[in-house]
Subunit: 257 residues, 2 copies
């Protein structure tokens, strides 16, 4: 039987505030067995860009990454956010290692082709070095992945953290029984947007189109759930959408085929 | 017989300019066998700090690292400089991995005690996870170390890159036959400061005090050579002080016991 692996993706808001980060890392530590953490950092990147006089351009919640902005996200995601998380995990006795996609070629991508929108230095993942990640995990090491990839030709590329988590989960599914957890601001997918008590406990592949059509699921939640289904179809055992603060209880919305 | 390992330390100037970096990485690639790279990045950190309105304070060429400056060096050394080097090495077919001291606890340090000067968040190395570095190197992976360490209690610390290189060399000397190369602006230690043709080919432990006393060796070169002797005394096989542009020829000043 395969060993269990829990992959947790946390967004910027949680990892960028000392108090919420501390709570998150303690909850993360409490998850038994093998683990992998994927983090964002968008708010810090936007704040740092603003301090440097670089304008943050977003289209449908996706960042346009020109050369200056790529430097900012490389500094913030790969340096500031990643290394502080790793140092704090080490302090908790977790042997973490911070990685971007270029380190040991962990995640290679293609620069997104320009269609209607030029996203700039943004990468769509094409290959994961699951063997290397698995070799670390099997040694008890906890990889902490920053949302950066590379094209194999020397170019770093900004990559959506949900995608990083989904691709890592899919690639590692041949080595481990993978549970993929997406943490965000709400305790799960909500039936009524403003009611945190209206968490939908279970969304199946069959329910999904209907929930999109009736407007229950909208905006950034659509690609997040789509990502979840892709991961399940590629062999990931289960996907949970929850709130970072509920990570200790593992409640939320379970996505299932 | 132990496998050979070449550890190259390059300063900021070389890695911060695209042309000199490209040349360096090609020369680095040409070195046969197992390799490890340690980089600086001080000029970029100073420039980034200035853009952010943070003043760079130096005492005897050493940076005073307050909390804001620590964030800058974490971004610049751990993110911008480190990940760009790794991406470019990957493009050259070298399976590089970028690491700071906190990643897999590669290098742990103590915050420097305040005596005459408060250096702030600066670490003096106390332990190297040579076993992990050796396990990577034995797999053909090339570690690229940024000059950052941690105290094991969640605090990142700025650490001199020469020291990182020296400590890595000493710790790895029990696994490999280590050659340690310090690259700087001059082709070696010069007999006459302004004459690049006056490289002293060989400095022994016996010669060193005399060369310091007569003023031939002064300033930042003194701790660099002291570092070299420390490394040799701890089992490093040879130390070379050279210019990055001479890395392909491996000429320069050899330091010997």
């Amino acid at each position: 039987m395969k060993q269990s692996l829990v992959i947790v993706k946390v967004g910027g808001k949680i990892v960028e505030q000392p108090e919420t980060l501390e709570r998150l890392l303690k909850d993360f530590k409490a998850i038994p067995g093998a683990k992998l953490l994927v983090h964002g950092g968008g708010r810090s990147a936007t704040a740092m860009a603003s301090r440097l006089g670089i304008e943050s351009k977003m289209v449908d919640g996706r960042r346009i990454t020109d050369a200056d902005m790529l430097d900012v996200v490389t500094m913030v995601y790969g340096g500031l956010v990643n290394k502080n998380i790793v140092a704090k995990l080490q302090a908790e006795g977790i042997n973490a290692i911070g990685l971007t996609g270029t380190d040991c070629n962990v995640m290679q991508s293609d620069k997104r082709p320009v269609k209607d929108i030029d996203y700039g230095f943004v990468g769509d993942v094409k290959a994961v070095n699951a063997e290397f990640l698995a070799s670390l995990i099997e040694k008890g090491i906890v990889p902490v992945l920053a949302p950066l990839t590379h094209d194999g030709k020397g170019q770093l590329l900004n990559t959506n953290a949900d995608t990083i988590a989904g691709e890592a989960a899919k690639a590692l599914a041949s080595y481990f029984k993978v549970t993929l957890i997406f943490c965000f601001e709400k305790p799960g997918v909500l039936l009524h947007e403003d009611d945190d008590n209206s968490v939908i406990p279970y969304i199946s592949y069959y329910d999904f189109p209907r929930l999109v059509q009736d407007g229950t699921i909208s905006g950034g939640m659509i690609p997040k759930i789509q990502n979840a289904f892709n991961a399940l179809q590629a062999g990931v055992s289960s996907v949970l959408i929850t709130k970072a603060e509920s990570l200790d209880k593992l409640t939320g919305t379970t996505i299932a085929l």
